[in-house]
């Protein structure tokens, strides 16, 4: 018997008399015994996976002992347990390679958030009132099981819907198994910035329906069409590491890059050349570059190169620099110069993403950039574009406006479409018509407040996690990691709840896994890859369609992914709210970025309030004078404006998605979130709602104003 067992035993025997009436005394007392793996003051490092975006960075969690006030086995008290203290990138992980972004650093606050849900809840007040009463797990699981049994009894299994975020790995695979066994349609996945257009284009061009891995580390020249690859797009940590290697990782070689976009992103700030372009014409510029490259070759070479891509053997006569300059607003000289760099500074690579593909003609741009890569010979070549092998595509459907209206039971796994889907999709109305909604989320947010039952999941640090990133590494990556710490509360892993419910149904659903651990550890079998077809030429350029007449709505409206909040899903973390946005130094705020000359014309000063109106509605927000934006564009970061999302984000700022039109890419049906036009009108002087870290530090701003 070791010391620990001895203490346990004496603790139990010594006090069991007093607790004899409370059931099993060992359960009552277990909280007095410290975890086996805790040595006071000594840190341990445990592996986990960052859940903040689909990049799937491997992290190391610093775990140390702490006194935790919690409830164990129905008893409240202080437990000495090993808890997470800090997250760092895991140096052995091929994605993070030891680095971690701001959102990843802050993800520890998901676990320790003061407004995190601690136990199952049942709706008490009216739908959406936010009034819930605590229930036990037995009651919660019985309730969910009964709802599914009722549907099954009515032979209405198809009315069960599961709404999640895309690319959540094994938990979605489990849900898909359950739905299949039960007789329902596959899970629905929704995310605002979903890159569906690019996946489709990569499937058409290269036979890989997944996001690309850009081998920047070995590139000498890169051109990015709208992809904020150092900030918010695809796999930013892996891409930043590769970017640094491109710049300074090779003696005597400094890779260069050009960013094409109409509002300077974090990535655009690092570019050697920033090229503003008329929104919705990015692909034309790519074809213009291809035209120059083909024209510059010896006719025989040009014929060979052009013939490799269907329909290019004539050298793209419609895309001569002068004409492309007219359409895109990029000077012909610039086009010729960049085209020369693409040829001379080999290996070179082209990247497409973000707002460039969020137009009604989004697929055209993606296909054009893919074809440019093929012309450059940059596909699956060092310094070019790779596709991470072994990628398993999740079996999911996309959220569309009508998809929820047929549901009778909705299971909600962290997706928040009330916040991040356009109003015209009528998500709120659809939810109101669904008889029963259960949420697995850890927080009450804009969507889960409509739930009838909440079955809070563990935080990622308390659960089995897994990741098989679709991009970010040239080699296949698959990670599964156990809990870094014990659960703080009466929460349960969603996987365990689904497995238990599946087994308790009147017609039980047989699942291949018995625990959340088995689910996480089961590595999916890679799908067979179809051979890459020859890259298709994009269909002829079709003008983008914008919602709102230019005469009435003179500005393009660009909502963009926030560096700190992404699509808004991390707006509840205080570190991220107070982190100054690198391009503006704004904190705790919403703002509208306006070109200095436009602001001058409209007599707007920094912080003044403006009303931004689209055909869908009006928002009021403070002005941010922003030099890196075209005069006819206004931009807003997405992330603030939650109706309900904990004490730190509720009612803070405004939500630009609320005024987006429901325009879609004409080929894929993906939301074209950059296709709305707006007008702006001065609404008043600043009232202090724009909070910035930079600038004057008035200790008592109001005194200064009245003086």
């Amino acid at each position: 018997m070791d010391r620990r067992d001895f203490i346990k035993l004496t603790a139990i025997t010594g006090t069991s008399a007093t607790l004899a009436s409370c059931g099993n005394p060992e359960h009552q007392l277990i909280r007095f015994v410290p975890d086996d793996d805790v040595v006071p003051g000594v840190a341990e490092w445990k592996p986990s996976v960052c859940p903040m975006c689909a990049a799937g960075c491997g992290v190391s969690v610093r775990v140390m002992d702490a006194d935790v006030e919690t409830t164990r086995n129905g008893q409240a008290g202080v437990v000495k347990m090993a808890v997470a203290k800090k997250l760092e990138g895991n140096a052995k992980d091929p994605i993070s390679q030891g680095g971690l972004c701001a959102r990843g650093q802050a993800s520890i606050q998901v676990t320790y958030h003061p407004d995190r849900l601690t136990q199952p809840l049942k709706r008490a007040g009216a739908r959406g009132s936010g009034e819930f009463t605590p229930i036990t797990w037995d009651e919660a699981i019985a309730e969910l099981t009964a709802q599914l049994d009722t549907l099954a009894a009515a032979k209405d299994q198809k009315s069960l819907a599961f709404l999640t975020r895309p690319h959540r790995g094994r938990r979605t695979a489990l849900a898909a198994e359950l739905l299949k066994g039960y007789g329902a349609e596959p899970p629905i996945a929704h995310e605002l910035f979903a890159d569906e257009v690019l996946r489709r284009a990569n499937g058409i061009s290269f036979g890989h329906e997944q996001l690309p891995t850009i081998d920047l580390a070995r590139s000498r020249f890169a051109i990015s069409f709208g992809a904020d690859f150092l900030g918010t797009w695809n796999s930013p940590v892996a891409q930043s590491t590769a970017y640094a290697a491109m710049r300074q990782g090779r003696p005597g070689v400094r890779g260069a890059f050009v960013q094409v976009e109409s509002r300077m992103s974090l990535t655009g700030a690092s570019a050697d050349e920033w090229v503003p372009v008329t929104p919705g014409t990015e692909g034309v510029l790519a074809l213009g570059l291809a035209h120059v490259i083909l024209a510059g070759k010896h006719p025989a070479d040009a014929g060979r190169a052009g013939a490799a891509i269907d329909g290019w053997s004539a050298g793209l006569p419609d895309y001569a620099p002068a004409k492309v300059a007219q359409i895109t607003g990029v000077p012909a000289k610039t086009i010729e110069r960049i085209a020369r760099s693409l040829v001379e500074m080999q290996p070179s690579v082209a990247i497409a993403g973000g707002a460039a593909l969020a137009h009604t003609n989004g697929l055209f741009h993606a296909l054009a950039v893919n074809a440019l890569n093929a012309l450059l010979g940059s596909v699956e070549r060092p310094g070019g574009v790779f596709f991470t092998p072994g990628h398993v595509k999740s079996e999911v459907r996309s959220l569309k406006s009508e998809i929820l209206s047929s549901a009778k039971v909705l299971l909600l796994d962290d997706a928040n479409p009330v916040f991040d889907a356009p109003k015209a999709w009528k998500v709120r109305e659809a939810l109101a018509a669904i008889p029963f909604i259960a949420s697995f989320g850890s927080f009450v947010d804009d969507t889960s407040v409509h739930a009838d039952l909440i079955l809070p999941d563990h935080s990622f640090l308390e659960a089995w996690v897994d990741s098989a990133p679709e991009s970010g590494s040239i080699e296949a990556v698959s990670t599964a990691a156990g809990p870094a710490m014990k659960p703080l509360y009466q929460t349960r892993a969603m996987a365990d709840v689904l497995i238990e419910v599946a087994g308790k149904l009147k017609a039980p659903v047989a699942l291949p896994w018995k625990t959340a651990e088995e689910v996480a550890k089961a590595v999916g079998s890679p799908q067979s890859q179809s051979p890459a077809p020859s890259p298709k030429v994009p269909a002829k350029f079709v003008e983008p369609v914008f919602d709102g007449e230019a005469s009435q709505y003179p500005f393009h409206f660009l909502p963009y992914a926030s560096l700190t909040f992404g699509d808004g899903s991390s707006a509840h973390l205080p570190w991220l709210q107070e982190m100054p946005d690198p391009l503006t130094s704004a904190m705790w705020s919403s703002w509208v970025e306006i070109n200095p000359r436009t602001a001058e014309r409209l007599q707007l000063a920094q912080g003044d309030l403006v009303d931004i109106s689209s055909s869908q509605g009006t928002l009021r927000a403070p002005v941010m004078i922003f030099p890196g934006i075209a005069p006819d564009i206004v931009a807003m970061p997405v992330g603030q404006g939650h109706e309900l999302f904990t004490r730190y984000a509720s009612g803070r700022g405004v939500n630009p998605i609320a005024i987006l039109a429901a325009a879609t890419d004409s080929e894929t049906g993906a939301l074209a979130w950059a296709a709305t036009r707006v007008k702006i009108a001065r609404a008043g002087d600043g009232d202090g709602r724009l909070i910035m870290f930079a600038g004057e530090m008035h200790e008592h701003p109001h005194e200064h104003e009245t003086r």
Binding site: K86, E88, G89, T564, I691
Partner: protein, 230 residues
Amino acid sequence: MPHRWGMAVDLDTCTGCGACVTACHAENNIPTVGPEQAARGRAMHWLRVERYWEGEFPDVRLKFRPVMCQQCDAAPCEPVCPTYASHHTAEGLNAQVYNRCIGTRYCANACPYNVRFFEFFNPQWPKPLHLQLNPDVSVREVGVMEKCTFCVQRINAASIDAKAEKRELKDGDIKPACVQSCSARAMVFGDLNDPESEVSRLSRSPRGGKLLEDLGTLPKVTYLERQTQV
């Protein structure tokens, strides 16, 4: 020879992403002050990302620069402190002894880099956010001035480990939280007294320069300027 800790920041690889800012909060128990106090200029960021806009649309450029305490050899913050709370250590750090600090804020006034922050309130971490606190770093109370320490707790931990293992500290043994988090590896920390260390090598770069060098503060942070091309 004692160590002389310094840092080099390569602005050619720094993307301005701000991971270092949050990493610093996580490591050093820096409180968040909330929107009302942030609006009054009381937000605390020992490390910030500065931005410099140049030109006009469409020929507009933006450069970032992460700025933390420059750990000056001739630090203006030190001689003005009436209680020697702000002082120079044998290893060249501008240390702040919180227990001595009486909150005159003379040091913040004297610092040309604006990197010293005053605790206007007792910090609050609504439970259980207090569990994120790093036990290796003291939590500062109201009335105390605080600043970047180059993560002195990590310097000390690595030094103690090396001593216990009866060896010298190796270059790269110590990574402050900002350096650790940087996925672009734009920040390098090490011993300036070791001519072979990475930070010494980078500090000798022809691209290297110091912030507000003309003031004669002798900073120990070297910025390697961004290169241009195309």
